[in-house]
Symmetry: C2
């Protein structure tokens, strides 16, 4: 009964088609536009048959998330293998991580909970620039020859660490209080040390 195999192969194929269709829609219109009926449209079926392959929309998203982690791991491993010095390996792996985030930004978004809906905030909400102004003022006083560019760079360095740590804590909550404190301290003193340097 080789026809059984053929049918199983076909089923596996539409499973893949569903995932590909979903990712295609997300890449074209964003996560919020993803719907079961749209996926069905792309694979030229009606919505209910998707449930023969996935328990829910959530399950499809989860599978894409899993695929994302597999690609990320593959990229980081490849980067690691190109070097022998641990320090170089570190640098290469984080660069691979960085590149992955932008090459597969839709996957990165769902893997680490990054919403892109609220872009161009400053134009709609002017108040959103207050934090920058406050920090920039202090930074300028600390620098011997402050330039707009340098202040901005330092600001983003600080902001990145802190926002990153907050995001990580909010998304997969937990971590010990001490570790957070340690991370913050290490990062902030490390960055402050690089001012006028």
């Amino acid at each position: 009964m080789a026809s059984k195999d053929r049918i199983l192969r076909l089923k596996e194929e539409t499973r893949i088609n569903i995932l590909e269709a979903a990712l295609q829609i997300v890449k074209e219109e964003g996560w919020q536009a993803l719907s079961m009926r749209k996926i069905a449209d792309v694979i030229e079926y009606t919505a209910p048959i998707i449930y023969e392959y996935f328990a829910s929309k959530e399950a499809i998203i989860l599978e894409l998330t899993r695929k994302g982690f597999l690609i990320l791991a593959r990229d980081m491993e490849a980067a690691k293998e190109k070097h022998h010095l641990p320090a170089k390996q570190l640098e290469a792996m984080w660069l691979a991580y960085w590149n992955f985030a932008f090459a597969e930004k839709e996957l990165y978004q769902v893997m680490f909970g990054v919403n892109t809906n609220c872009c161009e905030l400053a134009k709609i909400i002017p108040e959103s620039e207050a934090p920058y102004d406050l920090i920039a003022e202090a930074l300028e006083k600390m620098m011997t020859q402050p330039t707009e560019d340098e202040v901005c760079t330092k600001y983003f360095t600080f902001w990145s660490v802190i926002h990153g740590l907050i995001s990580i804590n909010l998304v997969n909550r937990g971590r010990s209080e001490e570790m957070n404190h340690e991370v913050l301290k290490t990062a902030i003193t490390g960055i402050i040390r690089t001012i006028n340097d």
Copy 2:
């Protein structure tokens, strides 16, 4: 006609009620559970009257976002005023920022695009731990006396900077390529310097 004033005051009041109801629902059930009909239930009206006060659900969310930025700015200003040394001011302001994020985590989420849906990822997707394993291995080789705790701390320090910078770039896209590179380099070399220190 003082009754005009009274009516205007009442209208202003239900406007506030709508915003408070929305925030209440979000705090109790999360952003994804927020709906116009639920808001209407809380303020004891039917959904359509909300449109007399806000053009859309999006507008309500935007107003809450704005309120969030106002609170954040107030907190940071208060922190700044308590110190004179710019370095101390910086530290205090970032701490205020940090505290705000957890005190008003729902507001922080919508202000900076942090999704909390995908928590406890490691339990559902084991592959999500691969990046940690890869990085940890390299970190251990670099440390003279590596402990699990220390490796973890360093990992999170790195991850925070990079994820933070990525998030910021994805959410309000833009920034110059050079600045990103500069921020990354500054942060990474700064952190590496603190290893075995």
